[in-house]
């Protein structure tokens, strides 16, 4: 897993609520058997017309916006458990998503792929959307060790929650399997106790 510790970037705003994983990556693109290349089809049906021409009004087609941080409306990532959604966002180059609310499975999937979901309060999210609207180049700084997100133009910041174990994994690029594999004996003992 790719490490993530400090990040300073401009943002991509997506002020829509309840963005489901079928929008992030539609089912017809889930036929691959590897993890690579999903970024190409990220938000496919919002991004492209049926004749494959880009939809001018979608944010990913608007060159004034760019960066490694996606800012989205609440309940981001609801619906299907497809981890392909996290792979697609990561593959596109995004490393942090800021929203006021994330769906559970998506949040877990993101964390397992070095993609950090940051939950902030509604007013901070609102403020951030407004700042991006004013200046698309406005930068946001994210520190995983300090668990802090800062809008650099205004200096406004928030601390965010992060499970200590997950934090350690993100900073070091570890994943859960290494940890679980180290518990082999305990797992076996548990099984024996149940028979």
């Amino acid at each position: 897993m790719e490490k993530i510790e400090l990040l300073k970037s401009s943002c991509i705003p997506l002020p829509i609520e309840d963005v489901d994983t079928d929008q992030i990556i539609p089912a017809r693109f889930l036929k691959a058997t590897t993890k690579e290349g999903f970024g190409e089809n990220l938000f496919r049906d919002w991004r492209y017309n049926r004749d494959e021409t880009p939809k001018g009004d979608f944010v990913l087609n608007n060159s004034i916006y760019g960066g490694r941080i996606l800012v989205a409306g609440k309940n981001f990532g609801c619906g299907s458990s497809r981890e392909h959604a996290a792979w697609a966002i990561h593959d596109y180059g995004i490393r942090v998503i800021i929203s006021s609310f994330f769906a559970d499975i998506f949040k877990g999937n993101a964390l397992n792929n070095g993609l950090l979901p940051i939950t902030v309060d509604d007013s901070f999210l609102d403020h951030l959307f407004k700042e991006i609207e004013k200046d698309p180049n406005v930068e946001v700084e994210v520190s995983v060790p300090a668990q802090k997100v800062t809008i650099l133009s205004t200096g406004e910041s928030r601390s965010f929650e992060l499970d200590p174990y997950k934090k350690m994994c993100l900073i070091n690029g570890y994943d859960d399997i290494d940890y679980l594999l180290s518990l082999k004996d305990k797992i076996q003992a548990f099984e024996l106790s149940k028979t």
Binding site: P15, I16, E17, D18, D20, D22, Q23, P26, A27, R28, L30, K31, A32, T33, T34, K35, D45, R50, G73, K74, N75, C78, G79, S80, S81, R82, E83, H84, A86, F101, F102, A103, D104, I105, G108, N109, N112, N113, D163, P164, Y165, D175, D176, I177, Y179, L180, L181, L183, K184, K186, I187, F190, E191
Partner: protein, 463 residues
Amino acid sequence: MGKTLFEKVWEAHVVDSVEGGMEVLYIDQHLIHEVTSPQAFQGLRDRKISVARPQRTLATADHNVPTKDQHLPIREELSRKQVQKLVENCDEFGVTLYGLGHPYQGIVHVIGPELGITQPGMTIVCGDSHTSTHGAFGAIAFGIGTSQVEQVLATQCLLLSRPKKMRINVEGKLAKGVLAKDIILYIISKLTAAGGTGYFIEYAGSAIRDLSMEGRMTICNMSIEMGARGGMIAPDKTTFDYVEGREFAPKGEAFEKAKDYWSTLYSDEDAQFDKEYHFKAEDIEPMLTYGTNPGMGIKVTDSIPSGSADQGETSFKKALTYMGLHSGEHLVGHGINYVFIGSCTNSRIEDLRLVAEFIKGKKVAQNVNAMVVPGSQQVRKQARAEGLDQIFIEAGFDFREAGCSACLGMNEDKVPAGEYCVSTSNRNFEGRQGPGARTILASPLMAAVTAIEGKIVDIREYL
């Protein structure tokens, strides 16, 4: 202090606790399908490890499979390759596969229960969000991502934070024409698409207890549509009777012993929930969705609202524009050209019987393309044995082979862009049934009457 049903099952499976609060949970049964597993098997290969407990792992092919001519090779190349990959992976890692052509093949959440693999008190996971279905048996069952599929394959365990506890009580008697599907669509419309996030739900109350296992599965299936990790129902006689005698259920003395344990699985009277809701069965009517998430639902007699308390104006408008609908409009009378009866929500034998009974002797309207897709080969076989297939065919329904079908636009079964489809599935997201398709979620009875009338009507006027 007493324990909740969830706590009893969870605590019986904790292998270890990690500093900071996460827990290592042992998984009794891992279910696998072709879409979310290939990268996990590859992960094992990269790490040079095997599947830890192949006997606790079961695979089937459902999402990509055609529902016509299943004996022929899958036409679409990528789908064929993905299904083939599953065959190779199961072969290489020693996992049992009920693949295409196998008499037990079907939608993963239909075959687990019907084979008696799903049992009370178990922990069950699958790389699929509707794994919550199995909670109907009093199991802790939930969907996981592919990284977690790999964790379970590698160690039979998952590292998790314990969700909060919610109980939803539905008391009273359902009116005629109101089904389990209406109960859950009603609950989601009240709690919203995010109302259950962070929680594991227990459904309780007399209206829930009165449901058959099929009805209970429909309810638990859609727990994820309010964001909950899963939903469960305390096992009782209905549950035990359903499980008894099934292929992989315990037999004889072992069954009696299991039943004694299962009978202890309920929430104690003084158990504490973080959140609790109460609904009355009498308040529930046949439900329909009008928007692009399952929380955007109304009673059949209601008009489309002018906004929602939890969604911003932009998102709400975007949804209505996509659906081609307007605030204030009634759905009754709206012309419909596609009807889909199937999916892990409503494709069990009871659903098919109900629909067949209603449409018997009637004809599908001229403008409607109607499809019935059984959830599994076994459901299909049973339907044929009961002559239901003939009833469907005579009425003008297309009676297909088992699979996820038009529930998601991944296989050949899709709804064309701009068309409305009244569907018994669980998701009405943009493009879910095919790019541009407009989905209206409903019960099997509402779908059946729509097929016959060619437009949306209130089923209660036909019973």
